[in-house]
Every structure is written in C-alpha cells, then in structure tokens.
C-alpha cells in the first residue's frame, strides 16, 4: 500500500519472481551466463543504494522478497510470473511448483501464474490440465524464446499454441502475460519479436494479452499492435526502471503508451528481483511528464492514471476489488506485522520468515 496525501493507493506488482540461480542450481554454461546478463540489467539501471551484491542476486530467498515487496516496497499483491529455463537450471529458474510454496504461505499476497510450452504438443495439453487442477493458477506467463531440445523458440500463432489457447478458454484462464522485446543472453532476440501477438490477440478476443516489457526497445511495433487489438495490454516491467537513469526516455515511453493505448491498459511490474519495487514506485509517484512532451503528445500522467497503472488496472483484469482485498490484507500475517511496525516503528522487529525451502 502506498499512501499519497492521506490517500491509499492499491499496488499490484504485475511481474515478480523468486528465483534460484545459485551455482548449485546452474547448468553450464548458460545458467551462469543468464544470471550474469540479469545482473547487468540490475546494476545498469538501479540507483546506487538499491544495488545488490552479485551473490545475493543469484539467490536472495523468501525473507528478502517479503521485505522488499511488502514491508519496504508498498506492494499489496504480487503476480508470480513463473519462468522455467530447465535447460539452464537443474530445478528450473522459478517454476510454478516452487512459486506455489510462497502462494500457499501468503495466499492473499500472491497470484500464481503458470505457463505452457506448445512444443510439448499433445502430452503438454494433459500436463497443462493437471497444473490447473492442482495449483491455484490465476493466469499464465509465456516465454517464447525458451530453449527446448534444440529449438530456440516458438510463436504464439503456431498451430499447437492455438490448441493451448483454446484450452485456456475452456479452463477459464484469461490473463496471458507474454515476454516480448528485450532479450537475455543467450536467448534469440527474434523469438521475442512482438508480431505474433497480433494474430493471437485477434483470434482469441476473450483472452487478455499483457505484453511484458512492451516490446522494448521496439516500442513502435508494440504500439501499432496494441492500438488495433483491444485485448492487448502493456506490462511496464523493464520500462519502469529507465525512470532513474533515463527519465527523458521513460517520459517518452509513457507518453507513447498513454497516447496509443490510454491509461486503462498499462500495468505496473517491478520485475523483482532484477529491480526492487520501492524506488520504482516512489519515483513514479513523484514523476511528471516534461512540458514539451505533454504538449507534443497531448497526454497527462495524472494521479488518477498513476493509481490505475500501479494497481487498479491489474485488479480489474484479475477480478480483485481493491477495497475488499485491502481488508483481507490487513488481517493476514504481513498485514498484522505492518500495522504493528507502523504503530511503533522503533520497537518493530524484522518480519520473521522461515525459508521457503522448509515449507516446500
């Protein structure tokens, strides 16, 4: 919860992870290459006081996550965007099995997103059904550049992907987050090209496609598609942190998104733990579009728009009523802890978190 002039702002972090990139979990050579590239993103865009040591970045654990999101970071609900990478990490980078341990422990604090890989074809359809039966899957996170048995990616408009989308409709899974745009070494840049969203969104109008990272740096390609397709949304993870080192670029991204998509289709995401949410949210709340950009694009980044971006838009997509949900959060273990800490900041102790592995 972020409080602005006495007004509560409901915050949904639409894109966050609890990953394990420890040396023990890495498969050579790309387990290390992958996390090194992530660390470059982290250290390249984070403010100096929000930079982590490399070892912590590889494996930070549940206690750090709870503190960074909910205690320090204003987040009310986090969306666990499961990312598998079984060819780079022995037990996966952060699978829905692993993420579910967090969801089970703090049920009101997380939405658990699963995934599918159409290259698993018929057998994968059955697995997908099982995942939805066995886990509280709220939505999906798709990763089209994931490596699999020699293949370096797939497309949303592949015939097998369509079979999975049909199953999503049947099972009532409607929110589909898709990573599009920035690549991570050693994945193929072309496999993250945004153009396949165009076909999938047209052919599945009942599904919502939240395009994570808005296709950056090729924002124009994303904007043309999102303007035409009314079920395409902008996930701001990776766009957000530019607010610190490149505020002018960030302003231009936001002006474009507000102009082409409007304020109701933009969703905040920190991409934790690449970046922590606290400074991103504080800087967004303090941010104003430069006058020349406001005039040139004819758009405003108002307080109302910031409220929508930070939580209301995601809450609407996931069927959450912020007022009702806020009451539930007040009563869960973290809510109680936060209330105590606020009442007596000096006497507050750190929130005691047992490691997630013990609960898995």
């Amino acid at each position: 919860m972020y409080t602005h002039n006495g007004q509560d702002i409901f915050v949904v972090d639409g894109h966050m992870h609890l990953w394990d990139a420890s040396p023990e979990n890495q498969l050579p050579p790309h387990g290390k290459n992958w996390i090194d590239c992530f660390y470059a993103y982290h250290s390249g865009l984070s403010p100096a006081d929000a930079k982590w040591p490399y070892e912590k970045f590889c494996q930070y654990g549940e206690a750090a996550l709870i503190d960074d999101l909910f205690i320090q970071g204003y987040v009310d609900v986090g969306i666990l965007n499961s990312t598998y990478l079984y060819e780079f990490y022995k037990n996966g980078f952060n699978s829905h099995h692993q993420n579910n341990a967090l969801k089970a422990k703090y049920p009101e604090r997380f939405l658990l997103n699963g995934s599918f890989d159409p290259r698993a074809e018929e057998a994968g359809l059955e697995e997908f059904r099982h995942m939805v039966e066995q886990y509280p899957i709220a939505g999906l996170k798709l990763y089209t550049a994931e490596w699999r048995q020699g293949s370096k990616g797939w497309r949303l408009n592949d015939p097998w992907a369509y079979r999975y989308f049909e199953l999503c409709q049947e099972l009532g899974i409607t929110n589909i987050h898709v990573h599009k745009g920035p690549t991570v070494y050693p994945l193929s840049r072309d496999a993250f090209d945004v153009h396949d969203v165009d076909d999938a969104a047209t052919d599945f109008p009942a599904l919502n496609f939240i395009v994570e990272h808005v296709g950056l740096p090729r924002l124009d390609d994303f904007c043309w598609i999102a303007t035409q397709e009314k079920n395409v949304y902008a996930g701001l993870a990776v766009a957000m942190p530019f607010i610190h080192p490149r505020p002018r670029y960030f302003a231009e991204i936001m002006a474009n998104l507000l102009f082409w998509l409007g304020p109701d289709k933009l969703l905040f995401g920190s991409d934790y733990a690449i970046w922590t949410p606290k400074w991103q949210i504080e800087k967004l709340m303090a941010f104003e579009l430069p006058d020349d950009i406001r005039q040139e694009y004819g758009v405003e980044l108002t307080l109302e728009t910031k409220r929508k971006i930070l939580g209301e838009n995601a809450a609407r997509l996931y069927g959450i009523d912020p007022a009702v949900h806020r009451e539930k959060l007040r009563r869960d273990v973290l809510g109680v802890h936060l209330a105590t800490a606020t009442a007596d900041p000096a006497g507050a102790e750190a929130f005691p978190v047992a490691s997630v592995q013990e609960h898995a």
């Binding site: 090194d36 390249g44 865009l45 920035p182 740096p217 924002l219 124009d220 390609d221 474009n256 082409w260």
Partner: protein
C-alpha cells in the same frame, strides 16, 4: 604418406592444389616440429565464400542457408523505411520549433530549403526564411528519400509519406505521431546496441545502457 600441396592461388581463388605421395617428415633442425592432426573441421560458410557466393550477388539467405533467418533485402528495406520516418520526425520537430504551422510545412518544396554554413533555412508563411536547425538534419532526411527512390527534385514536396504522397494539413498530425514513435524506438535500439557492445568489450556490468547517449537526457 599422402599430402595435399598448395602451390599457387590468385584473387579469384584459382588454386594449384595437388594430392601427392611424399616421404614421412623428419626433424632436421633445432627449430622444427612435427604436428600430428587428430581431426580437422570445415566451415560450410567458408566454402560459400570461396565459391564467390557473395561477390556473385547470390542472396544472403541462399549463400548462408545454415545461418540466415531470412532475406537481408527485406530487413534492409525495413531499416530504410523506419530510418526515413525517424529522420523526417527530427526535421518536422525542427520546422515546428522554428514556428512553421502545419500549413507552412505541407506547402514546403524541397527547393525551398536553403543552407547557410551548418544551418538550414526554410520560408515561413512567405516571409524571410527562418533557421530550422542544423543542415545535417535536412541532409540526412534528403539522403533517405534518395535511398528509397522518392522524388528529390527541387519542385517536389518536402514532406511526404512512404508512398511519396504529399501530406495534407489534416493528415500531418497523425503522420507525425507515428513517425515520432518510430524515432524513439530507433534511438533506443541504437542506444541498447551501443551499450551492449560496450559491455561486451569491457566485460563490466555497469556499462549496460549507460553509454553516452545524449538524445535521451
């Protein structure tokens, strides 16, 4: 033992290569060694180059079938078209900042632009020409027009769409908005590429995204 011996070659890769029987080598001086090859690799790409695929104008996708993801001609065309919009967006920004109205801009002919040293000038509502930014901005835009085969004659309209149709006052705003988004993407793309290159060359994590890209600040 058998040996392949290369006696001569020229720039056209005409080679005098023969397979012949030779005596087993022996070491006859202190600075000689005998090397036994365990295995040798051969890159198909090298063969294609030897076969003059590139110089003969064979398309990229054909010459580098194992590596190419598509035809480079299409990619080049996309770059040129996006580059045209991006450079046009920069010029339009300069014209607007100099006080030209949409009607002034739509009425401009290529020959209306004049240059004084490093500065470009354009007529504003029939009055004396005003400065509209660096000459380089206009030259770079005109170069992309030429690259795309668009009309470059002095009497041709200065601002057209990609089909070389002149823009009307009504269409200008929407066109500018689109061109502006393309410009932003290209600048960001270029900045990322430079930063990634810098990171690779230095192996320093902190170099990511932090190259000296003034246009963002």
């Amino acid at each position: 033992m058998k040996a392949a011996r290369l006696y001569a070659y020229d720039e056209h890769m005409q080679v005098d290569l023969t397979l012949e029987m030779v005596p087993e080598p022996t070491i006859t001086a202190a600075d000689e060694v005998i090397v036994r090859d365990g295995a040798a690799g051969l890159c198909r790409t090298d063969l294609h180059i030897i076969e003059k695929a590139v110089n003969a104008g064979i398309p990229f996708a054909e010459a580098f079938a194992a590596e190419g993801g598509g035809d480079l001609a299409t990619l080049r065309e996309t770059f040129l078209r996006k580059g045209f919009l991006s450079r046009q967006a920069r010029l339009l920004r300069r014209l607007k900042d100099a006080g030209l109205t949409a009607a002034d801009i739509c009425a401009l002919r290529i020959g209306d632009l004049s240059f004084a040293g490093d500065t470009c000038l354009a007529p504003c509502a029939g009055r004396q020409p005003v400065e509209v930014g660096p000459a380089d901005t206009a030259h770079r835009y005109l170069q992309r027009r030429a690259d795309l085969g668009l009309d470059g004659s002095p009497t041709g309209p200065l601002i057209t769409d990609l089909q070389d149709q002149p823009l009307t006052v009504e269409r200008l705003e929407a066109h500018v908005t689109r061109a502006r988004t393309v410009r932003l993407s290209l600048e960001a793309n270029g900045a990322l590429c430079r930063a990634v290159l810098a990171a690779r060359q230095t192996q320093a994590h902190d170099m990511w995204f932090l190259g000296p890209i003034k246009s963002f600040q």
